[in-house]
Amino acid sequence: MTSTSPTETHVAPQADHGDPARSWLARIAEGRAWLFLAGLIICFEVWSRLSFGATFVLNPFNVQSIAIFAVAPLLLATGQTFVIISGGIDLSLGFIMGLAAVVAAHATNMAGVAMPVPLAMMLGILAAVIVAGVPGVINGLLISRLRIPPFIGTLGMFGVARGAAFLLAGGTTVPVQNSWFALLGNGRFYGVPYLVIIAAVFVVVMHYILSQTRFGQHNYAIGANVQAASRAGIDIKGHILRLYVLSAMCAGLGGALYAARFTAGAAQAGEPLLLDSVAAVVIGGASLFGGSGTIFGTVAGALVIAVIQYGLVFVNVEPFWQFIAVGLVIIISVLIDQAQRRFSGARQDE
């Protein structure tokens, strides 16, 4: 009477673990940015043909312009993807990028006095990425050691990086005197801009880190349940520190490439790109609550924004409509994410 054998109490596990409706919805959510991108391109194609009798997307110049346009926001957004998946946010990325652009310009010029042009360029880029890591370290320490919420800590760093960037630039833009650097920003390899090639390689590396390494796996776990991650023995403080350094260094590379493209460093280089970076991540299917998101989703998100911005200019709409269009897309993406959460939440509680 007191002990029951396992066979008696055994209850068959529920037969269906992967509810087909849910996984279908999940797949749509992951791919929704790519679907949206395709729909958007078709819209602009139709619009362009009807209004001007010209193709939009089959014009290689347009494709190239959109790709170049997307590079800097995409670099910020890849770092932001890691941060948002962990359940945080990095508001300082825009001005870290500006700071890095100014550092890249100064460092390249200074190094150019003493060494060959290509070496000076590489040193400039390296300096930009390393200097960008400093505010990243501070962000990481504030958030992990002093337990300051990411929103507040990185907002503070937004101000600090902004001030530092303008001070370092002396209030103006800093021109770069380096022919290789200019070539990097504007040259092409078989018609493909170097900037786009660099961004593509970078995206693949970041995808690898997020999807194939322990760091990436722990990032997802921390975003879903930081206590579970901590109990599993993951070094949360160390991870958060590395995370914000990584995102800052993404912005650092973004700043260096900005300086290459415009052959000048400007403190305000990344100012409008911060919101774009968050928008790209959200449009790409990540949840602002943490725990979900992918790099390729973010790539689609960044392309959506670039297509909206470039496309509206192309079809001759007043540029202010860009803000409205991007804003609406963000809101729609968040609504879809919430609807999906509610749906899966209802399922979970049975």
Binding site: T2, S3, T4, S5, P6, T9, H10, V11, P13, Q14, H17, G18, D19, R22, S23, Y208, Q212, T213, R214, Q217, H218, Y220, A221, G223, A224, N225, Q227, A228, A229, R231, A232, G233, I234, G291, S292, S344, Q348, E350
Partner: protein, 251 residues
Amino acid sequence: MNSSEQTAPLLEVRHLSKHFGAVQALNDFSMAVGPGEVVALAGDNGAGKTTLIKAISGVFQPTGGEILLRGQPVTFATPQEAREKGIETIYQDLALADNLSIGANIFLGREPMRKVFGFLPVLDRKAMAVAAKQTMGRLDFHVSRLDAPVSNFSGGQRQAVAIGRAVYWDAQILIMDEPTAALGVPEQRKVISLIHQLKAQGRGVIFISHNLQDIFAVSDRIVVLRRGIQAGERKISETNHDEVVKLMVGG
């Protein structure tokens, strides 16, 4: 039926005390768990049950007393140290990363890697899935979708995943804080059957519950805590619900 006289128990606590300022949460408490033994820990809210398991699992240090593992005195500065010694604690809600698969949860924090192209390390998801399948099979829990996130599973199944993780890493002592609370009746039975499996595998289980039905279904012994002191200890075969309730409320 139990040979604990000759051999040291798996885990023993002696005269354990823990106070938080003026609050004496645990006072001169002693108990033991042998291999293949399930000990239920019962007591009213605030009796000190959670405090006891936190002291055992290294979440904090006891103020007094000692913990012995197979007869050897031990101290755990962190939960990791307790885990490395084979003491795994399973918490109600906080155990899993919902967005990851069973395998990823089992290996969370110690993921296996493999190399592609001969140099590039990548997560070995296949090894994780295989281990997940085997481990869950050992618990008589068969899953078809090993790649699904654990949020797709029911409460009892998730409890099984948490237990599966402990089993995979070969925990010899499992401590469960109210594993059946917040579960439906069929799911509660499933968890009870999991505890039977752990017992059959020779592991020691300490399990906290308010549910006397569950306690009587699965335990060998029951230890009752009341306001931090050990109010009584009974073999399940020699007691009944009434007596246990009296021990819990006192008088």
